[in-house]
């Protein structure tokens, strides 16, 4: 029996980390089901959401899945939030359509839902009879378009370029790609390769090694997120072709910014996850106070290059 008690030590340890008295706190509770905390993007969002909660005088509970694409686990998190009792749900969907059952559960308990960062399939939402109060996030199509225009201006018409795609069917990745392809077409660029690397750094490395091998004359690559762009940069330097290929990413995470300063990466589209977290919780608080909110709340995006990197944050 003694060993049983020992086995509970890690649990108790975890519970003692920053616990506060749950029951005596009467502030409204915002449940924030966030994609994953393995990505600095979402860590920034979480930090901002929590400080926004302090300003708005609400409690913000943040729970993340262990893996980025694990929708089932995200539904579990939402169910557990609802068991606990929350006033409002903020969620960054792990799947465009598969997250809808979670939204339905919240609707069933009259808990309003604010979708953050990546959109939910509108048609499927309607079919399921689910309802969201608001969407907070950046316009990914516009971001992709700016990346396409930038590359177009750098390499000129006829430039040979590659795309590293996110997971197929992932709304965010596909919107970025759609915007990028529109701009690439109007600038007369030639897309010689467009491969899936699942928003993953090591996959970005592997896939781009193959792309480089197959396309000797490649001039530029657009990666639908920075992790894949970082992988691509490593592949380029591993192939001894550093500096010869323009790499543009998306998200402008810290490591990408460092590479842009060093000139190893040309540009990245900055989204402001901190803005998203802050606006999401502020919007949630407005809904709790009974205010009307807009159905789409865009957060800012910017093209970050070596020239403007120190003027932006």
């Amino acid at each position: 029996m003694r060993l049983f008690l020992i086995s509970l030590v890690p649990v108790l340890f975890a519970l003692s980390c920053g616990r506060e008295d749950v029951t005596s706190d009467s502030r409204p509770v915002v449940g924030f089901a966030i994609n994953t905390l393995n990505n600095p993007f979402f860590v920034d969002m979480k930090t901002a959401a929590e400080s926004s909660a302090v300003r708005e005088n609400v409690r913000c509970l943040v729970q993340a899945t262990e893996r980025e694409m694990d929708v089932e686990r995200q539904i579990q998190i939402v169910e557990n939030f609802l068991q606990r009792g929350i006033s409002i749900l903020c969620i960054t969907p792990n799947g465009t359509e598969a997250v809808i059952p979670a939204i339905l559960r919240a609707n069933g308990r009259n808990v309003p839902v604010v979708v953050v960062d990546s959109k939910v399939d509108a048609r499927a939402l309607q079919q399921a009879g689910a309802h969201i109060a608001s969407f907070v996030g950046s316009d990914n199509v516009e971001g992709g378009r700016r990346a396409g225009e930038y590359i177009g201006d750098r390499v000129g018409a006829g430039g040979r370029i590659a795309i590293l795609e996110g997971p197929p069917g992932h709304e965010t990745g596909e919107s970025r790609m759609r915007g990028f392809r529109e701009a690439a077409e109007s600038k007369g660029l030639e897309v010689v390769s467009s491969q899936v690397a699942h928003f993953d750094r090591s996959l970005g490395f592997q896939v781009f090694q193959n792309v480089l091998e197959a396309n000797r004359e490649l001039q530029a690559v657009f990666a639908c997120n920075d992790l894949m762009a970082l992988g691509a940069v490593e592949a380029i330097s591993a192939a001894g072709r550093g500096g010869s290929i323009i790499v543009v990413g998306f998200d402008a995470i810290e490591e990408a910014r460092d590479l842009i300063r060093d000139g190893k990466m040309a540009a990245s589209i900055a989204q402001y996850p901190a803005d998203m977290g802050e606006v999401a919780v502020a919007t949630a608080a407005r809904i709790i106070r009974g205010e009307e909110v807009e159905s789409q709340i865009p957060t800012r995006i910017e093209l970050i290059t070596r020239e403007n990197i120190d003027d932006t944050n």
């Binding site: 049983f4 539904i75 557990n80």
Partner: protein, 321 residues
């Protein structure tokens, strides 16, 4: 008294589960409610059903790393058939059959080519995942009829339907393992394959069937998952194999083969489910949750092994004059 308790090998795990629940009940006012306990069981059902099949495989002395990928592929088969207008009662058995065939392929490889199960099923893990990605072009098949959604969302006499399926699966596996010749053969193969063979047990056949059944139960889990998400996804079930193995091992199954029970595995799966649920309710940071879950797996198995040793010692002392 200790003697009769020690006869039930899953006592240690059950005590662990009860203690865990007691701790969460003490720390969170939201844990010990009927609706939350049903919620936990409902959340555990999918992994538990896979773990039931995994128990058979582990008892037979093997391991199956391909279950998560089989979940994805079988789920897509069912989703695709439903979208093509097949009736549910036809699409579901075909999905189970797909799981059985994929699992059976593992079994054939393990039984007839003497490939280590780790390697054979590692191969299948990749093949089935690739197959799933090809099948759906990397995407998903979404949107099903209300009647199909009932499988995961419905309730019968207040019990979530997945919980009923889970109970039925574990009841069946329990009976098969404890009351049938098939079960005895599986234990004997896992205990000592050579001895089983020399005693006339059709070793190869039983091994192949065990993997087939594990695949079929993964197919059953796939049906529930597809219904729950209202979507069959090519990326579904990633790393489910590890949860299923953990559930079986926490429940007292030995990776050396020959030991493991259906009930123990069910309790093991519930321990994992309760942990995730309780840590969510207490708003424990997601990072710490992973640490805790890993630590509990290791401790639970350690406790189980030591408890068994202690009781055996006790028994040996009593029986020595």
């Amino acid at each position: 008294m200790l003697r009769s308790i020690s006869a039930h090998r899953q006592f240690g795990t059950l005590a662990g589960l009860v203690l865990l629940c007691a701790v969460f009940a003490f720390l969170s006012p939201y844990f010990l409610t009927v609706s939350n306990l049903l919620n936990v069981m409902q959340q555990t059902a999918i992994i538990a059903i896979i773990a039931a099949g995994m128990t058979l495989v582990i008892v037979s002395g093997g391991i199956d790393l391909s279950v998560g990928s089989i979940v994805a592929l079988a789920g897509l088969v069912v989703g695709d058939l439903l979208h093509q207008g097949f009736a549910m009662w036809l699409a579901i058995p075909i999905g189970l059959l797909a799981g059985f065939i994929l699992g059976g392929l593992n079994g054939l490889l393990v039984a007839w080519t003497n490939l280590p199960p780790f390697i054979a099923t590692l191969g299948m893990m990749s093949v089935a995942r690739g197959g799933a990605l090809m099948y759906a072009g990397g995407g998903s098949i979404s949107g099903f009829e209300r009647s199909f959604r009932f499988l995961a969302e419905g309730e019968v006499f207040g019990l979530p339907f997945p919980v009923i399926i889970m109970a039925a699966v574990f009841g069946t596996v329990h009976v098969v393992l404890t009351r049938t010749r098939f079960g005895r053969y599986v234990y004997s193969i896992g205990g000592n394959e050579k001895a089983a063979y020399l005693a006339g047990v059709p070793v190869r056949f039983h091994k192949a069937v065990v993997y087939g059944v594990c695949g079929m139960l993964s197919g059953a889990a796939a049906v529930l998952l597809t219904s729950r998400l209202n979507s069959a996804q090519s990326v579904a079930g990633v790393m489910y194999e590890l949860d299923a193995i953990a559930a079986a091992v926490i429940g007292g199954a030995s990776l050396l083969g020959g030991a493991g029970t259906a009930l123990g595995t069910l309790i093991g799966a519930l321990i994992m489910g309760v942990l995730r649920n309780g840590l969510n309710l207490l708003d424990v940071s997601s990072y710490i949750q992973q640490v805790v879950i890993g630590a509990v797996i290791v401790f639970a198995v350690m406790v189980d092994m030591n408890l068994g040793k202690g009781l055996n010692l006790f028994r040996a002392q009593r029986e020595t004059p």
